[in-house]
């Protein structure tokens, strides 16, 4: 596979042609914050946390959907970008009811740890406090819309890996919700295979195992890479 070279944060690095900026960064241990990107799923560019500065581009570009190109000059952190990332996190916290103290994913939450990492210590915007419900109709799992970030990892993993497409999004704008089938209770879903992949990839406590209490819900998404390599690179060929 052809190799390209580009500059990330004043360092010359190599990347495989066709890789995104974010993948190239990860290969060189440069950490970029993100909530919607997940290795193994299609990139979406929705959370806007992985925005980077690319010399010559008038706008900040999402690293997850922008292809790394030869001679590109990328800056992943500067005062403005870091400030914007904190503000975007503030908006995310203000949107729904992220009450860490009573959340199943407390201390195991990607949103929470990103906020700590980026130093977001207060929210200056009005909390929107939407009235959202909790669906525990499924035998093993539950969905709490109060914690949902609309990262749509669940939608993508269900469609792209499991192939069931049980999840999708309804409505638009701030009224968007993730739904199962025709917006029926999860437990009534005919297409759901109960595989639980959506629960494992969810960055917050929006999707959880039933019966887990505060801070008990630990998730592990690394299985994805393994089964996808097995499938796509034919490592598991019989």
């Amino acid at each position: 596979m052809p190799v390209i070279t580009l500059t990330i944060n004043d360092e010359l690095v190599s990347a495989r042609s066709g890789q995104s900026i974010l993948e190239a960064c990860r290969d060189h241990d440069i950490q970029l914050p993100t909530l919607c990107y997940l290795d193994g799923l299609s990139a979406r560019g929705g959370c806007r946390l992985c925005l980077v500065d690319v010399a010559g581009s008038p706008r900040l570009l999402p690293a997850c959907t922008t292809e790394a190109l030869e001679n590109m000059v990328v800056t992943t952190h500067n005062e403005k970008i870091d400030r914007y990332r904190r503000m975007i996190l503030e908006l995310t916290f203000a949107e729904r009811n992220h009450t860490c103290a009573v959340c199943v994913s407390n201390e195991n939450c990607e949103l929470q740890s990103l906020a700590a990492e980026l130093g977001m210590d207060h929210v200056r915007y009005d909390y929107l406090n939407p009235e959202l419900n909790l669906d525990t109709s499924h035998e093993r799992y539950g969905v709490d819309h109060n914690r949902c970030l609309l990262c749509l990892r669940c939608v993508r993993v269900c469609d792209e890996v499991e192939g069931a497409h049980t999840w999708d999004v309804m409505g638009r704008g701030v009224e968007s919700r993730v739904i199962t089938d025709l917006n029926r209770p999860w437990g009534d879903s005919e297409s759901c295979t109960d595989c639980g992949k959506c629960v494992e990839v969810c960055p917050t406590g929006a999707l959880f195992d039933k019966g887990s209490s505060v801070a008990e819900m630990k998730k592990e998404a690394s299985f994805l890479r393994r089964i996808l390599d097995g499938r796509e690179k034919r490592q598991w060929q019989r």
């Binding site: 979406r44 560019g45 929705g46 959370c47 806007r48 925005l51 706008r59 900040l60 999402p62 959907t65 922008t66 292809e67 914007y84 503000m87 975007i88 908006l91 995310t92 203000a94 949107e95 200056r124 915007y125 009005d126 929107l128 609309l150 999004v169 409505g171 638009r172 704008g173 701030v174 009224e175 968007s176």
Partner: protein, 567 residues
């Protein structure tokens, strides 16, 4: 049809029209029909049948004539080519006009003066057929040269030459962005692919803009011809027109026009006797402003949720179903045929150095002559509002002109002499946009106008990216506080910072431009914002201002009923 038979039919139709003693053009576009054009038409037709005049005259139900607020409009043209236009015509007046004109007697109803600035200050290129033809009769269009540019292009020019000609004309995208059309065509032409598409964006969602609707309703063949030329130039055999769901008449007329053109071999396979095949299909939107954004429009054509996707890759590289796609605004396509007919240099003779040609505006709001106008680029705003528009009614004082809809801004009185072109408007913090131009008088409150547009963006945000989905709601909350009296001075700072964030980090054009009306009004009318916050006063008298800031609650507490009861 081939080019020769096309020319023959044009001559034939022209001859028929010249033999008529009198032609009556009745504006039959939506505003005039709403104002009562239908009974006028019925009355005229009855009279025609009763007096057996069908051989001598014809009634043409045309597209938009322009001064929509004066409808229903009726124009008569006698055999000598003399024309008279009448406004606000009643069925009785129409009958009188017809009877007196056919008998060569002076008409009693007063006609609009022929030198009305509304008419003489305009330059009609895009709208040259609008108001002159019955959009449902293809012969009328052919008589005025429809499809002759396509015939010329298909038989005399190479695809490369067509792109070069468009590039030389200096035409820029009329949807708002102003990207050079010729460059875009060349990009798509050079993209190697087994299949390519041409798309016309007729999803005109800006509130206060209806230019594209009028073009599609008044002269649909002009758009189809432009698309076919584009198809030939970039190497596409399939085109789509995406029409806004709110425009059923435009959709119906386009369907008819496509069928009529296909029947005559002007579209379909082996167009005009050449080896070029081109089909056009209609797609009807279902009510989502964001679908005016090109990538969202394409996902909508593919039958999905109309959410934008990050660019690059640009549609010219990977668009519909992953194939290179040329996407232009309806008005851009409507400029193509005249350019190919009369040459790039002729077109470049209109307008300014960087903005060539003309622009169609929907002039409305507080203005005497509201309606649809086409003016050369570079005309001053003052000429548009006070000459063509006739100034403000009831002695109103001009406060601002809003352009560009929810992505644009308000231009204050001190900049009335700015030439209207892409760069100048951008410098003023507004944009050309698709062409809505709304005049406001002193009774409009600027923070309230900004809130109105933010409310619009909030409802129309698709919800894909965080800054736009949540940011618009938070900006709306802050503006609500300013207009209800509960804002503090630091809210203004929070608002401005948030505006910059949303502008710079949103995924698509909707989010990037959503803060424009706020930033622009903050720039020109900051004192109005400050009056709301510091003096609890709305200078325009629009806002109620009946709330108080949360932090100020203690000092007011004694006055509040709730607290009185508790204590």
């Amino acid at each position: 049809m081939n080019p020769t038979s096309l020319a023959e039919q044009a001559a034939q139709e022209l001859q028929r029209q010249e033999q008529l003693k009198l032609r009556l053009f009745l504006c039959y576009s939506t505003p005039c029909v709403a104002a009562g054009a239908e009974p006028v038409k019925t009355a005229l037709e009855e009279l025609l049948a009763k007096q057996d005049l069908a051989a001598d005259l014809e009634i043409v139900a045309t597209g938009c004539m322009g001064p929509c607020s004066r409808g229903p409009l009726l124009r008569i043209k006698n055999a000598d080519g003399e024309e008279q236009t009448f406004e606000k015509v009643t069925p009785e007046q129409a009958k009188e006009i017809l009877l007196h004109s056919i008998a060569n007697q002076p008409v009693e109803t007063t006609a609009l003066p022929a030198d009305l600035p509304f008419f003489v200050r305009q330059t009609r290129i895009v709208l040259s057929n609008s108001g002159e033809i019955d959009p449902e009769k293809i012969e009328h269009g052919i008589a005025r040269g429809s499809y002759s540019a396509l015939a010329h292009v298909l038989h005399e020019m190479s695809a490369e030459e067509v792109c070069a000609e468009i590039k030389q004309s200096g035409l820029r995208g009329r949807g708002g962005g102003g990207y050079p059309t010729g460059l875009k065509w060349n990009l798509v032409r050079k993209s190697p692919a087994e299949r390519k598409y041409v798309v016309a964006n007729g999803d005109e969602g800006d509130p206060g803009a209806y230019m594209d609707r009028t073009i599609m309703e008044s002269d649909p063949h002009r758009v189809l011809e432009g698309m076919a030329i584009a198809g030939y130039a970039v190497g596409a055999e399939q085109g789509y027109i995406y029409v806004r769901g709110e425009y059923p008449l435009a959709a119906a007329r386009l369907v008819k026009a496509i069928k009529a053109a296909e029947r005559r071999g002007l579209l379909g396979s082996r167009v005009l006797g050449s080896n070029f095949n081109f089909r056009i299909d209609l797609r009807i939107g279902a009510g989502a402003f964001v679908c005016g954004e090109e990538t969202a429009l394409m996902t909508s054509i593919m039958g999905r949720r109309g959410q934008p996707v990050p660019r690059p890759p640009y549609p010219a590289q990977s668009g519909l179903w992953g194939y290179p796609t040329l996407i232009n605004n309806v008005e851009s396509y409507a400029n193509i045929a005249p350019i190919m007919q009369q040459g790039a240099d002729w077109f470049a003779g209109f307008g300014t150095e960087k903005s060539k040609g003309t622009k169609v505006f929907a002039l409305c709001g507080e203005v005497v002559n509201s309606g649809l106008i086409e003016v050369p680029m570079g005309i001053s705003l003052r000429d548009i509002v006070f000459e063509i528009g006739g100034g403000l009614p009831d002695g109103g004082k001009f406060k601002a002109a809003q352009t560009g809809g929810p992505s644009g801004g308000c231009i204050p009185a001190e900049h009335l002499d700015t030439p209207v072109d892409y760069e100048s408007l951008k410098e003023l913090g507004s944009i050309m946009g698709s062409g809505g131009l709304i005049v406001m008088n002193e009774s409009s409150c600027m923070p309230d106008v900004a809130k109105f547009f933010m409310g619009f963006c909030m409802e129309e945000s698709c919800g894909k990216c965080v800054p736009c989905r949540v940011g618009t709601v938070e900006m709306y909350e802050l503006l609500t506080r300013i207009t209800d009296g509960s804002a503090m001075l630091n809210d203004l700072e929070t608002l401005e910072q948030l505006c910059r964030l949303v502008q710079e980090t949103s995924l698509c054009g909707l989010g990037m431009t959503a803060p424009n009306p706020v930033l622009n009004t903050l720039h020109y009318y900051r004192d109005e914002y400050l009056a709301h916050i510091q003096e609890n006063n709305c200078p325009a008298g629009v806002c109620q201002l009946d709330q108080i800031p949360l932090l100020k609650l203690p000092e007011h507490a004694a006055e509040l009923a709730v607290f009185k009861e508790e204590h």
